[in-house]
Subunit: 239 residues, 2 copies
């Protein structure tokens, strides 16, 4: 069983998404990632990892940006019922007020997306910056920020399969896709939960820079890439 899986995965990793040429025109260079209280660790750093590898191949700048340019914690608003302590504190490079011009804006998810006061400045900044972006990307429940900013109205989109009811309450006429790993609609990319963000950003890297670049990034991360349609979690989480 595992040998068959290894062979098929190897084949898919090597060939399934072959032959995508880079997009014509200027490539995006300045990429911002949102931080806020109770952000989800891999939503941010899975994407960050792929961009770090991309940065070895092509010139980009990656900025962590939050409301006040200080420190953003993984720590939730209320203690876990288990009593666990699993916090991490990351320093932002810029605040929403002094952020540099961005070509790409990425919003991840986490428990913080459930807190309106926490998300208000993130939604406001997202709404303000979107018209000047080349690409807008969300991971996980970060899609709720795009929906609340009106960016997904009328578009196809996806989000965390285990937080479906929460996110899909927002926005107007959004065509939510419960069985997609990630979705592109125009210049907006939305991904499913947590690790799906890495597959989405790899799909986006392939779309922008072509297959040779995305394959190099994928293999450097030793990542088994799942494509836009490769989703089992919609079904596993009852959608």
């Amino acid at each position: 069983m595992k040998n068959i899986l290894t062979i098929i995965l190897g084949f898919c990793t090597a060939f399934a998404v072959a032959n995508v040429d880079p997009q014509p025109g200027p490539k995006p260079k300045n990429i911002g990632i949102a931080l806020f209280r109770a952000w989800q660790p891999m939503d941010v750093f899975g994407v960050f990892e792929a961009l770090w590898e991309l940065g070895l191949l092509t010139p980009i700048n990656v900025y962590l940006i939050d409301a006040d340019g200080s420190a953003a914690m993984v720590k939730p608003f209320n203690p876990f019922a288990t009593g666990s302590n699993t916090t991490a504190t990351v320093l932002a490079d810029y605040s929403f007020d002094n952020a540099p011009p961005l070509d790409v804006w990425i919003v991840g998810g986490g428990i913080g997306t459930r807190d309106n006061a926490t998300m208000a400045p993130v939604i406001e900044f997202t709404k303000k910056v979107y018209p000047s972006l080349q690409y807008m990307i969300s991971v996980c429940t970060g899609a709720s920020v795009l929906a609340r900013a009106g960016i997904l109205d009328g578009k196809r989109a996806t989000t965390n399969k285990n937080a479906w009811a929460f996110v899909t309450q927002f926005g107007q006429r959004i065509r939510w896709q419960p069985h997609m790993r990630y979705v592109r609609d125009g210049n907006v990319w939305t991904t499913s939960g947590v690790s799906a963000g890495v597959d989405g950003i790899l799909g986006w890297i392939e779309y922008v820079w072509g297959t040779n670049v995305s394959t190099t990034v994928t293999n450097a991360m030793e990542w088994y890439h799942s494509g836009a349609n490769d989703d089992i979690f919609g079904t596993l989480h009852g959608l």
Copy 2:
């Protein structure tokens, strides 16, 4: 092709690693993760994500620990040839001098592992703390720290497939496994590069807490789990 892959992956995720019972005896609770200059983003935060999800189910504490208890940056020692700027700064919770008692010590990799001065205190702390640990875990080139600390001597182990020559120069009579995703030998778990750390920690969670817990964590992360033997990257990287 993708439909077949989805079905097989779904089958493997749901059933391939079923029926592992939890380990008897007291469960590990206090888990430290090493930080140092030029750590690899997902080596730390992929593992952190799985532990964060685990913390929702069972009481654990996760501590980020570095040499001086201050801030540790992703930033490399030398600028990238591309001119890219992809830095991130994370605050440590403790230093090696004031670290709390640990049941588990996790060392990730990154460019920093190539710098002897940076790694000297990490190697020293790892050597000191190992005898009192329940479990020792490395991700990626973090295996070089365990090898330099003498912990892998005579053991089976693996590491990043794209940094194989660098890591395998260290240690004595280590039985390096070039085609494994992750390896357990006694209480020491070593994983292959970057994202393999997540598969390794999920394998470890299953070993310690059983399949029910590890499946919940895996599905919450929307992670396609690859088992210890599911490796294609040794071959892809010419091993």
